[in-house]
C-alpha cells in the first residue's frame, strides 16, 4: 500500500486536493442552484444532496491513503507543501501533517458523508446553499488541521466560522438567530485576541531580510519572549481555544448552538469543530509557550477549569429536559477530559486526550444523528415526550443503547479507552484532579441511563409514539460505520495509539525540556 501510494506521489498532492475538492464542490452546487431556478423543491433537494454526497465521498476515499502513506514513527511534518502567498509579509501557503493531524483529518473526511446522509430528507429549504456551505466548512476545518503557517492557520480558523454561523442561522430551530449570534460573538472574541498574538509573534520573529515570519517551525525554534510576554501570548491563545473547546465557563454558547443547529450542524460542531480547540492547544499553545504551560498558576488554573467542566457538565446534563441539550452538556464534560489529559502532561494522558477527541467525535456525532432521526419522526426532542419506544423502534433502541454506552465509557467501547488513559496518566501528575474527574463515571451513568430509560424503556404510554417507524436502511447504513468504529477503537485501539505516540512524546518532551532549560523562576511541580 505504502509503495503504491508513494509511486503516485500521493503525499505530494493529497493535502492540497483535500482542500480544493470541497471548494470545487461548492462552486458546482452554486452553478447547479443557478441552473435549477424553476425546478420544484424535491428535485432541487435530490440534485443538491447527490452532488454533495459525491464530493464528500470522493474526499473520503482519496483521504484514506493517509492512513498508510504517512510514516508514524517520526514526529516530523509530512506531505508538506510550501508556496509563497504574501512573501513580503512572510506569509506562505505552508501545509503538512503529523500523526495527530492525520487522524483528525480522517475523522473529518469520513464523517462528512455521514452528515450528508443524516440531512438527506431533513434539509428542504435552499438545499444547494446548505451543502455548499457544508463543503466550504470542510475546507476550513481541514485547513486548520494542516496549516503550518500561523497566518494561514488564522485564515482557515475564521473560514470555519462563517459557514457554521449561516448553517445555524438559516437552517436552525426556533431560536436560531440568538444561537448563531451567540456562537459567532463567543468565537470571534477569542479569535481576535489570537490574531493580535499571532501578529505579535510574526513581527517579533524576523527573517534575515527583516520580514516577519509566520512559519510554525521557525517560530518554534527561534522564539523566546521577554518577561511576561509568554504568559500574555499564551493567554490570548488560551481564550481563543478555550471558547472553542469549550471550557467552563466559556461553554454557554454550546448548548444553544447545538440545540438550534440542524442535525448536520450539530454533528459537525460536536464531532469536529470542538476538536479545533483541543487541537489548537496541542499543536500551538503547548509547544509554543512551554514556560507559560509550566507556570504553576497557569497550569493549575487550567486543570481546575477542566475538572470543573468535567463534573459540572455531567451534573447539568442530568437535569436537562431536552435530549439534545443533554448531549451538548455531556460534551462539556467529555472535552474537560481532553483538557485534563493535555495539561496533565504525561504521554498516557495526552494520548488518551487524543483518543477522547476522536471518540467524542464518533459517539456524540452518532448521538446527534440518532436524535435527528427521532426528531424527524416525532418533531420533539423533549425526553418527556417519549417512553417505551424500544417496542416500536427496536433497531433504533439497540443502536442508541450502544452509542450511549460508548458515550459513558463502558469498557469494550471506544469511550473507555480514552477516559481510562486520560485518568491513569493524569493521576501520576495530578492525582486529586484525576480522582475528582473519575467520579464522573457515576454521574455519566446517571444522566445517560436515565435519559435512555425515559426514551426507549418504560411503558409505551403516549399514543403519538405507538406509530413511530423504525429506522430505514439509509439510516441504519449511515450509523453502522460509527458503531463499527465504536467497537474497533474500544477493542483494538493500538493502531491509533501507535500513530499518535511519536508526536505526543515529542510534545511532552518539548514542554518538559524547555522548562528545564529555562527554569529561571519557573518551577515544575
Amino acid at each position: 500500500m505504502h509503495g503504491m501510494l508513494s509511486s503516485m506521489n500521493y503525499n505530494g498532492w493529497i493535502l492540497t486536493t483535500l482542500l480544493l475538492l470541497p471548494v470545487l464542490g461548492a462552486v458546482m452546487l452554486s452553478v447547479q442552484a443557478a441552473g435549477s431556478g424553476q425546478a420544484d423543491d424535491a428535485t432541487k433537494m435530490s440534485s443538491a444532496r447527490r452532488t454533495a454526497l459525491l464530493f464528500f465521498t470522493a474526499e473520503a476515499v482519496i483521504s484514506l491513503g493517509l492512513w498508510w502513506s504517512i510514516d508514524y514513527g517520526t514526529a516530523d511534518w509530512q506531505a508538506t507543501v510550501t508556496v509563497p502567498w504574501i512573501p513580503q509579509w512572510g506569509i506562505f501557503y505552508r501545509i503538512g501533517v503529523d500523526g495527530i493531524a492525520v487522524l483528525l483529518i480522517l475523522l473529518t473526511t469520513l464523517l462528512m458523508p455521514l452528515t450528508v446522509l443524516g440531512s438527506w430528507t431533513s434539509i428542504r429549504q435552499k438545499p444547494h446553499a446548505f451543502y455548499a456551505l457544508l463543503l466550504v466548512l470542510t475546507t476550513g476545518m481541514l485547513g486548520v488541521f494542516m496549516a503550518l503557517d500561523l497566518a494561514l492557520f488564522y485564515v482557515f480558523w475564521e473560514l470555519m466560522l462563517i459557514p457554521m454561523y449561516l448553517i445555524i442561522g438559516i437552517w436552525g430551530g426556533q431560536r436560531r438567530l440568538y444561537a448563531s449570534l451567540k456562537f459567532f460573538l463567543f468565537t470571534m472574541l477569542g479569535s481576535l485576541l489570537m490574531l493580535v498574538a499571532i501578529l505579535y509573534i510574526g513581527l517579533k520573529t524576523v527573517d534575515p531580510l527583516g520580514r516577519p515570519v509566520f512559519a510554525y517551525d521557525w517560530i518554534l525554534q527561534s522564539a523566546s519572549y521577554p518577561g511576561t510576554a509568554s504568559l500574555w501570548l499564551f493567554g490570548a491563545f488560551f481564550v481563543a481555544f478555550a471558547v472553542k473547546v469549550p471550557m467552563w465557563p466559556f461553554h454557554t454558547w454550546l448548548p444553544d448552538a447545538h440545540v438550534e443547529a440542524p442535525t448536520a450542524g450539530s454533528v459537525v460542531l460536536a464531532s469536529i469543530m470542538l476538536k479545533m480547540g483541543t487541537f489548537g492547544f496541542i499543536r500551538f499553545a503547548l509547544p509554543m509557550f512551554p514556560d507559560a504551560v509550566n507556570h504553576p498558576v497557569v497550569r493549575s488554573s487550567v486543570i481546575v477549569l477542566a475538572v470543573i467542566g468535567i463534573v459540572y457538565g455531567a451534573l447539568v446534563s442530568m437535569v436537562q429536559p431536552d435530549f439534545k441539550k443533554l448531549v451538548a452538556y455531556s460534551s462539556v464534560s467529555h472535552l474537560g477530559f481532553v483538557m485534563l489529559g493535555i495539561f496533565a502532561l504525561t504521554t498516557q494522558s495526552l494520548q488518551g486526550a487524543l483518543m477522547v477527541n476522536i471518540n467524542h467525535g464518533i459517539s456524540t456525532g452518532a448521538l446527534f444523528l440518532l436524535i435527528g432521526m427521532l426528531y424527524e419522526r416525532r418533531h420533539s426532542r423533549m425526553i418527556a415526550d417519549f417512553g417505551g419506544i424500544a417496542k416500536v423502534m427496536p433497531v433504533f433502541a439497540v443502536l442508541l443503547t450502544i452509542v450511549a454506552l460508548s458515550s459513558i465509557g463502558v469498557p469494550g467501547t471506544n469511550g473507555f479507552v480514552g477516559e481510562f488513559l486520560v485518568l491513569i496518566g493524569a493521576f501520576t501528575t495530578e492525582p486529586v484532579a484525576a480522582v475528582i474527574a473519575t467520579t464522573v463515571v457515576v454521574f455519566a451513568a446517571v444522566y445517560m441511563l436515565w435519559a435512555l430509560q425515559r426514551i426507549i424503556y418504560n411503558p409505551l404510554s403516549k399514543p403519538e409514539n405507538a406509530a413511530l417507524k423504525d429506522l430505514n436502511w439509509r439510516e441504519i447504513g449511515l450509523l453502522l460505520p460509527l458503531i463499527a468504529a465504536i467497537f474497533w477503537l474500544g477493542l483494538y485501539p493500538a493502531p491509533i495509539l501507535n500513530r499518535t505516540h511519536a508526536v505526543a512524546t515529542r510534545i511532552i518532551e518539548r514542554v518538559h525540556g524547555m522548562s528545564d532549560a529555562t527554569s529561571a523562576g519557573v518551577v515544575r511541580p
Partner: protein, 732 residues
C-alpha cells in the same frame, strides 16, 4: 514464564480464549435473531406492557396475544418458533461446549505441576509508553475454580431458562443477554491484568442492567436496572482509582508483575492501604456490601434464573474473587483487610435482620445473598482466602438451587393463576403460598437440602465453608498481622472477635429466616385459593433436572475442602483439597497474614464447630417453634405491620435515606444551582447578556453626543480647539 514453555502450553489450556469466545458467539447469534425478529416481524406484543405481571415475571406470557395484533402475530408465529428453537439450541449449547472445554482445561491443569499462572496473550490492547496493557488471559487455580463455577452453574441455569422463559416474547433477546453475561464474567475471572478484569467487571454490570430491566416496559424494572448500574458504577470508581494508584506506584497492572512487585510498597503503608480500600469500594458495589448493597434486592425485578446466575452465583461474588486475586496486596494492608472483614460481618448481620421480615420469596433470598456475601468477605478479609473462595463455591451451589427452586414455585403459582385468570395476586408473596410440599415434592426436598446447607448443618456443603470462615476469624485474633493492627482505634484482635460474634449471630438469623421461608412456602395450609390449587404442579424436567444436579452439589460440596480436624476424627475423604489447589495463588498471602501461632488446637476447633452447629440447629428449632404458618393469611388480607417489624420490612429505610440525603440534593443542586443558577443566571445573564448590555449602554452614551444640532457640534469644536491650543501652549 514464557507462554510457550509453560507446562500448560501444549494442553487444552491453549484454547482458553475459546472459553469467553463461545458465549460471545452465542450472544451474536441470539442478538442477531432478536433484532431481526423484532425489526422484521414487528414488536411481539406492542400493546401489552406486562402490566399484569406485578413483579415482572413472565412465565405466563403464553396467553393469547391481544386481539389487535392477533392476525399479525398468527402469521409470524412459525418464524418466531423457529427463532426460539435456534435460541434454545445456541444459548445453552455454547454453555455446554464451554463447560466441556473448562473441564478439559481443568484435567490438563491437574496433570501438570504449575509454579506460575499460564498467561495467554492475545494482542496488545493499550500500548502507551510505560503503560502496556495486553488483552491477555490468565489461567491459575483461582481462575480455574471460577471458570468451572461459571460455566457449570451457568450451563444448568441456561437449561433451566429454556423451560422457564419458553413463552416469553423476548426469548432470543434473553439468551443473547445471558450469553453476553457469561462472556463478560469469564473475561472478569480470566483477565491477566486489572484492566481486562475491569472490562468484564463493567460488562457484567451492563448485562445485569439489561437483564434486570428485561421487562423494561414496566417502570419499576427499568428503574431497578438503572439503579443497579449506577450503584455499581460508584464501586467502579473505586476500582478505577485503585488501578491508577497501582500504575502510579508500581508502573504495571499485570497480576503476575504486581504480585512480584507488591513488596516494593511499604507494608501497612498508606499507599497499599488506600489501594486496597479503593479496590474494596469496587467490591462493595459489585458484591452488594454496605453501603452499596441497595441495588441487589431491587435487582430481583429480573427473571428468576437471572437472579440465580448473576445475582447469587457468579457476578455478585466477583468482589470476593477480586480480593482473593489481589491477596498479595491485601495481605500487606492489615487495616484494609480488617475493614473488609468488619464490613462483611456487619453486612451479614444487617441483611439477615431484613431477611427475617420479607414476604417476597425472592427478596428473602436476595437479602440472604447479601448476608452470605458478607460471610465471604469475612473470609477473604481475615486472610483466609481459600475459605472465602470455598464459601463462594458452595454458596453458588445452594443459592442457585434456592433461586431456581423459588423460580419453580413462582412458575407453578403463575400457571395456576393464569389457568384461573386470576391476575391480581402476587405470585411471589409467601403469604399467598403455603403447603406447596404436597404439589411440588421434588422442589420441596431439594430446597430443604439447600436450606440446611445455607444454615450450616452438617454434612451439607455450607456447614464446611461457613465453619472454616468463622474458625479463621477466631484464629486470626491471635498472632496474625491483623491482630497487631488497629482499626479506628480498636485493636485488631478486638475487631476480629467482634467479626466472629457478628458472624455467629448472623448464622443464627440465617437459620431462622431460611426455615421461615420454607415453612411459609411449603408447609402449613395452602393459601393460594381453592380455585387455583388444582393447577399447582411440579415444573417440567428441563427445569427440575438442573435442580437435582444442584441439590447433589449442595449436599456434597463440602468435600471440596474438608477440614483436617474432621478427617482426623473420621476418614471420610481427603482434607484441604481446595486449599492445595489454591496454594500457588493465595498461599503466600495467607501465610503472611496468618503470621505465627494461629493454628488452633484440635480441641478448640472442635468446640467451635460444635458451637456453630448448635447455633444452626437452634435457629431452625426457634423458627419452627415460633412461627405458625397456620395463622398466616394471604397478602390481600394481611394488616400492615408496625414497630421494629415495620422497620425491618422496609429494610431499615436505607433506600429512603439515600434518596433524601444523596439523590434528591444532587438533583436539586444540579438543577437550581448549577444550571439555572450558574449557567443560565450567572454566565449567560450576568456575564454574556451583561456585557451585551454594557456595550449597548456605552453605545447609547456615545449616541447622546450625536444630538444632530450643528450648534452643539460647533461648540464642541471650539472647545476642542481651545483645549488643543492650551495643550500646545503648555508644551512650548
Amino acid at each position: 514464564m514464557l507462554e510457550s514453555t509453560h507446562p500448560l502450553a501444549d494442553t487444552a489450556a491453549r484454547f482458553v480464549w475459546w472459553l469467553p469466545t463461545l458465549p460471545l458467539i452465542g450472544f451474536l447469534i441470539n442478538g442477531a435473531l432478536s433484532v431481526y425478529a423484532s425489526a422484521k416481524l414487528g414488536p411481539a406484543d406492542p400493546s401489552s406492557d406486562h402490566g399484569h405481571e406485578a413483579h415482572g415475571h413472565s412465565a405466563n406470557a403464553h396467553h393469547q396475544p391481544h386481539a389487535a395484533d392477533a392476525g399479525h402475530d398468527g402469521h409470524d408465529t412459525p418464524i418466531r418458533h423457529r427463532f426460539a428453537a435456534i435460541a434454545s439450541v445456541v444459548g445453552p449449547g455454547v454453555m455446554v461446549v464451554a463447560f466441556g472445554l473448562a473441564l478439559a482445561t481443568f484435567f490438563a491443569m491437574r496433570g501438570v505441576e504449575m509454579h506460575s499462572p499460564y498467561v495467554n496473550t492475545l494482542f496488545s490492547w493499550l500500548p502507551v509508553g510505560a503503560l502496556q496493557v495486553d488483552a491477555a488471559l490468565q489461567l491459575d487455580g483461582l481462575s480455574m475454580v471460577m471458570v468451572l463455577v461459571i460455566t457449570g452453574i451457568g450451563m444448568l441455569i441456561h437449561l433451566f431458562s429454556v423451560g422457564y422463559m419458553q413463552d416469553d416474547p423476548g426469548y432470543p433477546r434473553y439468551f443473547a443477554y445471558l450469553n453476553l453475561f457469561v462472556f463478560f464474567m469469564l473475561l472478569l475471572v480470566l483477565g491477566a491484568n486489572y484492566v481486562v478484569t475491569f472490562v468484564g467487571w463493567e460488562g457484567v454490570g451492563l448485562c445485569s442492567y439489561l437483564l434486570i430491566g428485561f421487562w423494561f416496559s414496566e417502570q419499576a424494572n427499568a428503574d431497578a436496572g438503572k439503579k443497579a448500574f449506577i450503584v455499581n458504577r460508584i464501586g467502579d470508581f473505586g476500582f478505577m482509582v485503585a488501578m491508577f494508584m497501582l500504575f502510579a506506584h508500581l508502573g504495571t497492572l499485570d497480576y503476575t508483575t504486581i504480585a512480584a512487585k507488591a513488596d516494593q510498597l511499604p507494608a501497612g503503608g498508606i499507599v497499599v492501604t488506600a489501594i486496597c480500600l479503593f479496590l474494596f469500594l469496587g467490591c462493595a458495589g459489585k458484591s452488594a456490601q454496605i453501603p452499596l448493597f441497595v441495588w441487589l434486592p431491587d435487582a430481583m425485578a429480573g427473571p428468576t434464573p437471572v437472579s440465580a446466575l448473576i445475582h447469587a452465583a457468579t457476578m455478585v461474588t466477583a468482589g470476593v474473587f477480586l480480593v482473593a486475586r489481589s491477596s498479595m496486596l491485601f495481605s500487606i494492608a492489615p487495616v484494609a483487610s480488617l475493614t473488609v472483614a468488619l464490613v462483611g460481618a456487619v453486612t451479614a448481620l444487617f441483611a439477615a435482620t431484613i431477611g427475617l421480615k420479607q414476604w417476597d420469596i425472592k427478596k428473602v433470598l436476595a437479602y440472604s445473598t447479601v448476608s452470605q456475601l458478607g460471610y465471604m468477605f469475612i473470609g477473604v478479609g481475615v486472610g483466609a482466602y481459600t475459605a472465602g473462595v470455598f464459601h463462594l463455591v458452595t454458596h453458588a451451589f445452594f443459592k442457585a438451587l434456592l433461586f431456581l427452586g423459588s423460580g419453580s414455585v413462582i412458575y407453578a403459582m403463575h400457571r395456576a393463576y393464569h389457568a384461573t385468570h386470576h391476575h391480581g395476586d402476587d405470585a411471589q408473596d409467601m403469604r399467598n403460598m403455603g403447603g406447596l410440599k404436597k404439589y411440588m415434592p421434588a422442589t420441596w426436598a431439594l430446597m430443604w437440602i439447600a436450606t440446611l446447607a445455607i444454615a450450616g448443618v452438617p454434612p451439607f456443603s455450607g456447614f464446611f465453608s461457613k465453619d472454616e470462615i468463622l474458625g479463621a476469624a477466631f484464629a486470626r485474633a491471635h498472632g496474625s498481622t491483623l491482630a497487631d493492627a488497629t482499626l479506628l482505634g480498636l485493636p485488631g484482635s478486638t475487631v476480629l472477635y467482634i467479626v466472629w460474634v457478628l458472624g455467629l449471630a448472623s448464622a443464627l438469623l440465617t437459620a431462622i429466616y431460611m426455615t421461615r421461608m420454607m415453612l411459609y412456602t411449603f408447609h402449613g395450609p395452602n393459601r393460594t385459593g381453592a380455585a387455583n390449587t388444582p393447577h399447582l404442579a411440579e415444573a417440567p424436567w428441563i427445569m427440575t433436572g438442573p435442580l437435582v444436579v444442584l441439590g447433589v452439589l449442595s449436599l456434597v460440596g463440602g468435600w471440596l475442602n474438608l477440614p483436617a480436624v474432621i478427617t482426623d476424627l473420621m476418614p471420610i475423604g481427603p482434607s484441604g483439597t481446595l486449599e492445595h489447589w489454591l496454594e500457588p495463588v493465595v498461599g503466600e498471602a495467607t501465610a503472611r497474614v496468618a503470621g505465627t501461632g494461629t493454628h488452633l488446637s484440635a480441641s478448640t476447633e472442635e468446640v467451635l464447630i460444635g458451637f456453630a452447629v448448635a447455633i444452626a440447629i437452634a435457629g431452625i428449632v426457634i423458627a419452627k417453634m415460633r412461627l405458625k404458618p397456620e395463622v398466616l393469611v394471604s397478602k390481600s388480607a394481611s394488616l400492615p405491620s408496625n414497630g421494629i417489624q415495620r422497620v425491618l420490612e422496609h429494610k431499615w429505610f436505607v433506600d429512603e435515606a439515600y434518596d433524601a440525603t444523596l439523590v434528591k440534593p444532587t438533583y436539586a443542586i444540579s438543577k437550581s444551582v448549577l444550571w439555572t443558577g450558574i449557567d443560565v443566571g450567572l454566565i449567560d445573564t450576568l456575564l454574556v447578556n451583561g456585557s451585551a448590555a454594557l456595550t449597548r449602554f456605552l453605545g447609547w452614551m456615545g449616541g447622546q453626543l450625536q444630538s444632530g444640532r450643528v450648534g452643539t457640534y460647533a461648540w464642541m469644536l471650539v472647545l476642542g480647539a481651545l483645549l488643543l491650543l492650551r495643550a500646545f501652549a503648555r508644551a512650548s
